[in-house]
Amino acid sequence: MTGFASLLPLSLLVLGAISVLLLATSRKPASSAVPGLVALAFLAAAGVSAGRLWGRRAQAFGGQLRWDDASLFLTFLFLAAAALTVLLGIRFVAYHRMPHGEFFGLLLLAACGLVIMTATSHLLVAFLGLEVFSVSGYALAGLKRGDDLSAEASIKYFLTGAFASAFFIFGLALIFGGVQTLDAARLSEALAGPGANPALFLAGLVLAVGGLAFKIALVPFHMYQPDVYEGSPTPVAAFFAVAPKAAGFAVLLRILLPYAQAGLKKEALFGGLAAVAIATMILGNFAALRQTNLKRLLAYSSIAHAGYMLVAVVSADPAGLLFYLTQYLFTGLGAFAAIIALGGPGRETLELDDFSGLGRRSPWLAGILSVLLISLAGFPPTSGFLAKFYVFSAAVRAGHVGLALVGVATSLVSVYFYLRVVMVMFMREPGRDTEADADNPAVHLVLFLCLYAVLQLGLFPGNIVTLIHRAVASM
């Protein structure tokens, strides 16, 4: 019976995807609200069924699927991200004449893939989840069918994603050759055992981490991301910005944490990761300086934030990483929501100039977007500051003062381009007559939820931090 209960979250997601697809074929595509609400209902049900597993260390398929509290915590993040994306999509799908069955269905499947990725310590199962997510993701990116940019995004995402998958699976093959197991929890033990081939193992590890770095979009595997974000339907871009990163980091953490805890930080691998983190922070932030398209700016911003999260991995601070991921879910997604709130039937406002004087026309929207951007820049008392505080203080405690210095220096750079958006909204005279779309209550709900989350996590994150510590303890 526990086997069934532990499969329930995944089953519900798949069932939801199928129902939404069937619903789309049977109904005239008059309204996208119905499939959206159905998707939300299934996401909620999956959340409840996952919640019942909390603290019980349930397993299925002979331990291949393993629900420790960390994977459950991340599952909640994915479900929340998917739910917020559904809310963002309800009107967007209709405005841009996208097939709504596919949109909501694929979204649920993508979330399902991410859940699989985190709910296992077996790397082959993680690969399975990665592929489930990726295949849904390629289709989601290209869902604006008439749009060239969307098609380009889909192709780019597919090609680079295929490369990444190949890297990852080849890495797994080498790891298996090296230590005869693919269970992340047993890797270091097997490596110390007889018959292990450390060189082969290390080569495999580097390749596997490289494959994950593609999904997380760490430098130098980040190139596809701005194009993909720009071309993808905006709600999809919002989902891509937050959810796959979390899953990628979860797998990364599962592979690497045993080494960090065993005191093997001096290994070349961690030096390499620190270098990648530095390059990601620098490149992401500096490249964002030159962007005038808000979607591209947020794409580079999400690259930069992945760099900060990697600092947490290098410093062996899983709690800091989980907190960062949690708060970034709301800040990152909320910023995209603000773009969607400015759109309307068949049009989107993405250029920075479109935002000039927005503070006068739509003060609420401009105000919320400002708070989110200030959180992305890392000003207190928002959650973005607290996340950086946790991560960088962990880095200093772990002896990586240099990483923390690069982190704060690049944060300073980021202040410039985030505040530039705020400046355009509040300090420039109104140029164009873009206004918040009053006819899109779901998006405004998302914005307020994100605002609330940013302040709650920035000021009183007590409960979430307690959950995170319990999740980390169970890993």
Binding site: G359, R360, I374, F379, P380, P381, F385, L386, F389, Y390, F392, S393, A395, V396, R397, V401, A404, L405, V408, A409, S411, L412, V415, Y416, L419, M423, F426, M427, P461, G462, V465
Partner: protein, 521 residues
Amino acid sequence: MGIPLLSLITFLPLAGAVVLIFFPKEERRRMLILAMAFALAVFVLAVLCAVRFDGREAGPQFVEQSSWLGYGISYHLGVDGLSLFLVVMTAFLVPLVLLASQASIRDRFKEYLLFMLILETGMIGVFLSLNLFLFYVFWEAALIPMYFLIGIFGGRRRIYATTKFVLVTMAGSLLMLVGIFVLQGAFAKAAGTYSLNIFDLYRLTLSPQTQAVLFLAFGLAFAIKVPLFPFHTWLPDAHVEAPTGASVLLAAVLLKMGAYGFIRFAFPLFPDAVSRFGPVLGVLAIIGIVYGGGMALIQKDVKSLVAYSSVSHMGLIILAAAAWNTISLQGALLQMINHGLSTGMLFFGVGALYERTHTRMIADFGGVARKMPVFAGLFLIAVLSSLGLPGLNGFAGEILCFAGIFSGHPVWAVLAVTTVILAAAYLLGMFQKVFHGPVVQERVAGLRDVRPIELAVFLPIVLLMFWIGLFPGTFLRKTEATAARYAALLESRRTSYVEARRPTGQAPASIAGSATERKSR
């Protein structure tokens, strides 16, 4: 007592801002009344706090403490002699700023009031925080409203000025943030538990190298804010572009945050580094005094003249802090208030002139006193207070500063006296050119004297100037015990480090925990 007095003082303005959000933006009058009501309530509470404050007690009073985020981060407020009058001054100036701005801010008044109230919470929070994390939160949070105030309501080059202000200030604070991490880690290593409580950290003894690095990290953040000589470039830009109200608070309060930071954090936390870098700081302060005064002499714009005079005056305050004895600390504390009042009033005056004539160039005026006799008289009082005329507040502060500096560093004191000479030169020169002489300009001929609202802004400040000038004891009594305690703190920490080093050799960090020190918190 059950009422969290300090929390009320800190967060009441923010509550006012939240209420204000829901007002329709056409109702200027009601919004002003609401904002004023909140700001005045804060002032009343701050005065209440000052009255009930026991000057014989050196430790913080009205302390509120509760755990918050772990890793030594707690919500910890308290007021002592260092912060008491800075808080009162902030609470005193904000209502005046709000009142004065109702004529000058024509557009987007709601946002102006909103950011002013948020700014007040940030400023007061900085002074009341006794936890390093909380301090940093308020320190940074105060930046954002000022960014908007300058950026939305400023002059022609406002966006350049405000961006520069934020980025330069941020650059310093972020290094301080890394410094806080290092301090946090060092304390955890030495004590076994996390704490960012400032009085716990005072007991931490670090190796000289660590102290030097941390002192530079903290010192840079504070030096930029003060601003000390080579880091002052953001100040004239920000001041000239900022609207009057923001200029007043920038000069009166935000600059004090830097000086306060030195006295509260940088000096007592890193005593060894102070003896190393103290002379450097003194030299920079003296350069600032002379350079700021010299630059003020050649300014054509009254507002940038006042801005550069701030660089000069703040130099004296830092010099007094660097001399670090009871008298010089008392002087620095009093002078911070004095500078806030006199410079604040000067900026109010410049604002009043600008509102009438839309120019701030000295050459555009002349003979203003004939048209605005009352205004000229009030302005003269501010000028005289700023240059330290006996009987006014500036004198009381400066004499203490000089006496304190002289007892330790006679040469510094002699060089620092130039601040008075230069101030007399540029302020009186400006006053003469603007207010005296024949009325040549057409725009001056049509000037009208002070309005009642302006009088309501100027008079309380003038009153306070005389009060501090004639009866400085009222204020010094409250700060004396704390000043003496801090003066002794640095001395005892220097010696305790020497002792700590002798038996154990090179301990990277250790806790000097005497029972008396524990008791005093």
